[in-house]
Symmetry: C2
Subunit: 520 residues, 2 copies
């Protein structure tokens, strides 16, 4: 096994969308057992999202033995990491945020080339990533003993009751999959990693092949934090791979005790199938995407239609339409306000600049999916176009066609939405009952008369993880009350969230201590 | 479909272990769509646990159409039951407890014949069953709004934060499987049903074929409560079946949104396999049994050995050794105290009266499993014997043999335990690390010097759901801090408990309401 430190490798010169302000030293290796190492170097390249050309960074493809080593090391590290106090874990998370800030210019320069996301967006995302780490650190500091339920001994009762204390233990090593659309906030240092480390679990991250260099550079920053905090080195591991084999090996590994994933329905469910083959069942937290329906009520005021249209177009096409919470399905009545909304939206969509998507693969998939959809349904509006860039697209079909055509329910990752008109609230209510599970949905246009729509809202609540009044579903607040997850098929486990404080609960389980001396 | 009310059927006369004080009117049918009905009557008999002879009650075998109707009705009932307030649900649970108390003499008389459990035990179990219902009722009354996390709007912040409220919704219809060993507390009106109803879910119970008449009579009491509380009738359904097919159809039904089971590893995992075949993943809560190791430390005082031996024998053989928390594995050192403990235990086991088990099937299984074990390991003690009754058995093998023989890890349901000697704390610690997941484990004989055993206790905590000092694992307190569940293979979902207040959380999931008017 090669165990050369990556610093022995000459730093690559950056090129492409961003100009690096300093050498962007990418290892191209995995970080396993506390070392940068690789058996099979130079297997695949990072790709420039704008030019579709290879970037000068080459990555090793993780081999089965390496993956096995990573999982075993994560288990060994867990045996000592689980003994760390909540305050020690909080200090690690704070140091990680600190190291990310120190490495910010490197990280953003690399991520710009790999993802074509703007500097502003990436700066915001890095801030969010740091804030997520700090949120969990703060939670640990506020409640270092965790959630404890105590039933004191009742020695006089017949039969006597022993002292019983319910506490929580971390599950063990967690497999985390970096997501393509948040190269920072849902990747190596993202919410899944932060919540698992906060819970006391160790983590093996599978890097995303759409931003391998960003993963590499972020990992370097986190390794610095791990070393500074004198944590077990294998508290966090990173493996690079383009083949799906290694992902399946990861979730099937006996040392792995939970899995967190954000991505496509197809890939997420394939991983879930692998988990189903395990001898030992483990929690499978896969956020699988969603259409996030936008219900516009017939009472929408004419005066609100233009603004709502602009919001919908902006939310659909922002970040290239590559957000899990993109409003991908608009349900409109046949009213004058809805006509105005639609006319405004069509004009706005036609003016939308062509969008560079996160990766050539995502671009090609968008082209193929929208081409197929254009054959199935009506195209209402096409945005501006350019080579290797995605044009915004607004499609339309009838409610009945949508209900009868499973492929129309597939999320198209990119700047497009589907408009469906309904004739009555009765028809809308019947539709909601058949809605597959969604991450989020919004009701627009109500006139401060919510009780009238009680039945509709109730039904909608049972189909979603987050129900919104009169706001766009994009822009997910990171806080204790957030829920980012939803009924299947929007996620594989409706009981969990991948954003917000409760995300940590995914990686904990209860333990009862009976007849132990009182802890205080 | 037959929809005759069961009262049209002549009441059967009771016989066997108990003498009924009033006619024990058993329908022999399923309770589906708010009616006692059956397509295929008289398919199997209840069996007298003492004589192995059929009891005069015959039961219908549930047919595929009936099961489908039950699940559809449970869904329809859910649409209205989920609208009930917490206080209305609490009133239902209280009324159910009340009806069970009214029907107590019937229920106990029937259960005695079917299970051979003593009147005292069944009275205690009925009280526990009522208390479980009342515990959830009380919890709903204490906190009718449920668990709510509120993040108030921050309109001045840039970007402004909307008001966000995290609440919980019930999952939908739940499949509950009656367990053989608690014909009341883990059956039709048991903890799974109580916690699911408390959560706002409707329930389809698969009766246990070892106590079908008890299920039938209990259901009649619950139906009375449902009617008095004017709840949707299909809030609870009961199906009778001897074939496993109907169980698999139940957990695969698209209307079913969670499954709760207590029983054998083999049956529980077969049901989990069926759940894995579903298009929509659902929570699978299967409590699969356990050996519940009893670690006796070398520092056990000679003066404590006799009493501990008697406790271990009583706990192993009480209730015929048919408790999930039976201390089935005793780990003893080579000390004088341990020798005394073992000698005392052997003598006590030899005096244990023969035990009537819950059902001829369980008796036959006990005979077969212990016969097989007697060929594998040493038999230390055999209790008194009688026809059709189980003799208590104490087996012994080496640590290495246990580690090398997977079949020795199988729980034997009945009054037997396996004794294993260890030579050093190092050997014990190495063993604990390899221990498969357990519901509970106890450490005996420590001398108020817990910190010395910190590493051992920590490792043990990670292998169990409940860790106990110096007490028997049997006698599971029903309270907020209880944990009855554990790492695989003791349960299929380490995150859940089937006893105690937290059992309700199994059937709830989070919902975030964004930008809704503040509820207060």
């Amino acid at each position: 096994m090669t165990q050369t430190l990556f610093t022995a490798k000459a730093p690559a010169t950056s090129q492409g969308a961003a100009t690096a302000k300093q050498p962007l030293n990418i290892s191209g290796r995995h970080y396993i057992q506390g070392q940068w190492q690789a058996e099979k170097l130079n297997s695949f390249s990072a790709i420039n999202a704008v030019t579709f050309e290879p970037l000068p960074w080459l990555f090793a493809e993780c081999q089965a033995t390496e993956l096995d080593n990573a999982c075993e090391a994560a288990h060994q590290a867990f045996l000592s990491y689980r003994e760390k106090t909540a305050l020690e874990r909080a200090a690690l998370l704070r140091q990680m945020a600190q190291e990310l800030r120190i490495a910010a210019s490197d990280i953003i320069a690399i991520a710009r080339q790999e993802t074509a996301l703007t500097e502003l967006r990436l700066q915001g995302e890095l801030t969010r990533t740091c804030n997520q780490l700090l949120m969990f650190a703060q939670a640990l500091e506020n409640q270092p003993e965790g959630l404890v339920v105590l039933d004191k001994a009742l020695p006089e009762r017949q039969p006597p009751r022993p002292q019983l204390e319910l506490t929580q233990l971390p599950l063990g090593p967690v497999a985390v999959f970096a997501a393509s659309n948040f190269p920072l906030a849902f990747s190596v240092a993202g919410g899944d990693t932060a919540s698992a480390l906060a819970a006391g679990c160790t983590v093996v991250v599978k890097a995303h092949s759409a931003h391998p260099a960003t993963c590499d550079r972020v990992m370097q920053a986190l390794v610095h934090a791990i070393e500074l905090c004198e944590m077990p080195k294998a508290v966090l591991s990173l493996v690079q791979a383009k083949s799906y084999d290694i992902s399946h090996q990861l979730v099937k590994h006996p040392r792995i005790k939970a899995m967190a994933f954000t991505g496509s329905f197809r890939v997420g469910m394939a991983l879930k199938d692998s988990i189903n083959q395990r001898a030992e069942p483990i929690p499978c937290y896969a956020e699988l995407g969603s259409l996030n329906p936008q219900l516009v009520l017939p009472e929408l005021a004419l005066s609100s239609a233009t603004e709502l249209a602009q919001q919908l177009v902006a939310s659909t096409t922002g970040s290239g339409g590559q957000l899990c919470t993109k409003p991908g399905l608009w349900l409109l009545p046949h009213t004058a306000a809805a006509e105005l909304l639609l006319d405004t939206a069509i004009s706005a969509m036609q003016q939308v600049q062509p969008q560079t998507l996160l990766h050539p693969g995502i671009y090609k998939s968008y082209q193929a999916q929208t081409a197929e959809r254009a054959l199935q349904v009506k195209t209402l509006a096409t945005g501006l176009s350019a080579e290797k860039q995605a044009s915004a697209l607004l499609f339309s079909c009838s409610l009945n066609q949508l209900l009868a055509t499973p492929s129309l329910w597939h999320e198209i990752f990119g700047p497009s939405a589907l408009v469906v008109r309904y004739h009555s609230l009765t028809e809308l209510a019947a539709f909601i009952e058949k809605l597959p599970g969604q991450l989020a949905a919004t009701v627009h246009g109500y006139q401060h008369n919510l009780p009238v729509h009680h039945a509709l809202l109730t039904q909608l609540e049972y189909q979603v993880g987050r129900i919104i009044l009169a706001q766009m579903p994009t822009g997910v607040e990171v806080c204790a009350s957030m829920q980012h997850g939803g009924p299947f098929p929007s996620s594989s486990d409706v009981r969990s969230t991948s954003v917000g404080l409760a995300a940590m609960q995914r990686f904990l389980r209860p333990l009862c201590r009976q007849n132990f001396p009182a802890s205080d």
